[in-house]
Amino acid sequence: MAKMLLDFEKPVVELENRIAEIKNYTGEKGIDLGVEIEILEKRALDLKKEIYQNLTPWQRTQLARHVERPNALDYIRMLFTDWLALSGDRFFGDDPAIVGGIGKFEGIPVTVIGQVKGHNTKENLARNFGMTHPEGFRKCLRLVQQAAKFHRPVISFIDTPGAYSGIDAEEGGQAWAIASNLRAFAQVKTPVISVINGEGGSGGAMALGVGDALLMLENAIFSVISPEGCAAILWKDASKAPEAAEAMKMTASELLRLGLIDGIVPEPLGGAHRDPQGSAGALRQELRQVLQALQQVDPETLVELRWKRLRSIGSSK
């Protein structure tokens, strides 16, 4: 059961709690309330459908940022075997906001890189709230180049409010690190699949998003600036974030319609955090399909197709 409840989640969770109580009670007392329970469960399902199929962009933003939402480490645990975590950028440090390593996806060795937020304050402090430092981007670059050497496909998980903005990050060339990734990923001769599993915040998200397929989880978001930041600029009022979320077209379905992403991974009703296994299962299916398709293409062609795809975005003629 979720510990942190969003407003629109409350009716569902309350109903589910009541069902659980009744079941518990009838079990203890040996009373048969099967029909009643069935009716209540049906009502809970209808309620969920009604709420989750009509989420506003702002509600999705809240789901995308939900502290219990499965992060890259959770997906790694659920989707990859023989996991070997690798550290460091070989220049300066190891960024705890970026996890990287090698594992097997359905028997195939793959390199995984991912931005990681924590599930509580302690974890978030340790992982800098998922805000990547220059050394994190450089670690990604190193691991992607290593993957290319061994013709290993790369899967990236994107989940960040944005690249870290601080004195040390600027001194370390934050912008340079992001730009280098964008340039290198464009030409790396191995399949690259990017998955926005939570919050795709600005250039820091884009830095892990250049590849052959860009997927988004159903309730993930992807935007050039946070809705709060956008509202502050547009209307000098950060509390108008819900309107900004609407204006920026930052949900998976809107971005797919605009041709900016390649696919949507469905989430279980109620969102990924209510059923991480179910969410991982859907992602597994999607990754399997995309990976199989990309592995048919020779690396040179792959890079050329990747360029054509990027080249066409925002070209007016």
Binding site: A163, S165, G166, I167, A169, E170, E171, G172, G173, Q174, A175, W176, I178, A179, S180, L182, R183, A184, A186, Q187, S202, G203, A205, M206, A207, G209, V210, F222, S223, V224, I225, C230, I233, L234, A247, M248, K249, M250, L255, L258, L260, R306, W307, L310, R311, I313, G314, S315, S316, K317
Partner: protein, 293 residues
């Protein structure tokens, strides 16, 4: 390779359009006789200031230049041929107030979008050149800016000519959402292809170069030059201050800060920019012929 069959005018498939680059003062300062230096407070006579390349004679503060002004002081007289001037800026997200904002920016700057691109020569050396217009929605990069830079890079590859970009931008254009983010990726991919083709790319960072422009093509130059005192960084100063809740060092995110931290090759005062660029071009001049100047 370009050698004997190289013809400067051969660059242009479309009807040629020579632009006389104007060196008007910045839009908001048009018609003003006297300008106060924001750095030292000195009152400067506008025409004197312009003659001094818009650098304060007292404290050397480098005033921001419009794109036409930048090209006028950089390129040989009458050498500039504008390219891709006809790209229309669209509003792909139907974003609030964007169309009005665009119309106002076009009116104020006389430009279609935040960059002017074309071919020109510097002390006789041919280049494909782009200059940002910082007064056009903060010089932000949306689809048209990304497309024009990409086309310029493609032409540089095709013609085997150096690429020179002057950045002056607040970053990705918010009003075009993820389309703008994708221009970061697209321009970087274009530079990757330029590198494969062995084409020189000089990036000049001028005040201000921040956000999604710094985090893309602008920091990928073979040689990166900055103007003195220019604001150069990833995150906006205010964002950083809010994040850290502390005052920042005075030289934070300046050209000099970047030089100190090994992020750029040199800081060149505006008076030295043209000869510096010419020298770099001459040092990479194998197979490139000088044009008459």
């Amino acid at each position: 390779m370009v050698g004997s069959d190289y013809m400067f005018k051969d660059l242009f498939r479309k009807p040629q359009r020579y632009i006389t680059v104007r060196s008007d003062a910045m839009p908001q300062e048009k018609g003003t006789l006297w300008i106060k230096c924001p750095e030292c407070g000195e009152i400067l006579y506008a025409r004197e200031l312009e003659k001094n390349l818009n650098v304060c004679r007292k404290c050397s503060h480098h005033f921001r230049l419009s794109a036409p002004e930048r090209l006028a002081i950089t390129l040989d007289e009458d050498s500039f041929l504008e390219l891709d001037a006809d790209l229309d800026t669209v509003d792909p997200l139907s974003f609030p107030e964007y169309k009005d904002k665009l119309a106002r920016a076009q009116e104020a700057t006389g430009l279609q979008d935040a960059i002017l691109t074309g071919a020109g020569a510097i002390l006789g050396w041919p280049v494909l050149v782009g200059a940002f217009e910082p007064h056009f929605i903060m010089g932000s990069m949306g689809s048209v800016v990304g497309e024009k830079i990409t086309r310029l890079a493609e032409r540089a590859i095709e013609k085997k000519l150096p690429l020179l970009l002057f950045s002056a931008s607040g970053g990705a254009r918010m009003q075009e959402g993820v389309f703008s983010l994708m221009q970061m990726a697209k321009t970087c991919a274009a530079i990757a292809r330029l590198n494969e083709a062995g084409i020189l790319y000089i990036s000049v960072l001028t005040d201000p170069t921040t956000g999604g422009v710094t985090a893309s093509f602008a920091t990928l130059g073979d040689i990166i030059i900055a103007e003195p005192g220019a604001l150069i960084g990833f995150a906006g100063r205010r964002v950083t201050e809010q994040t850290l809740k502390e005052k920042l060092p005075p030289d934070f995110q300046t050209a000099e800060f970047c030089l100190k931290h090994g992020l750029i090759d040199l800081v060149a005062p505006r008076q030295d920019m043209k000869p510096t660029l010419a020298r770099i071009l001459s040092l990479h001049s194998d197979n490139i012929e000088r044009v008459d100047n």
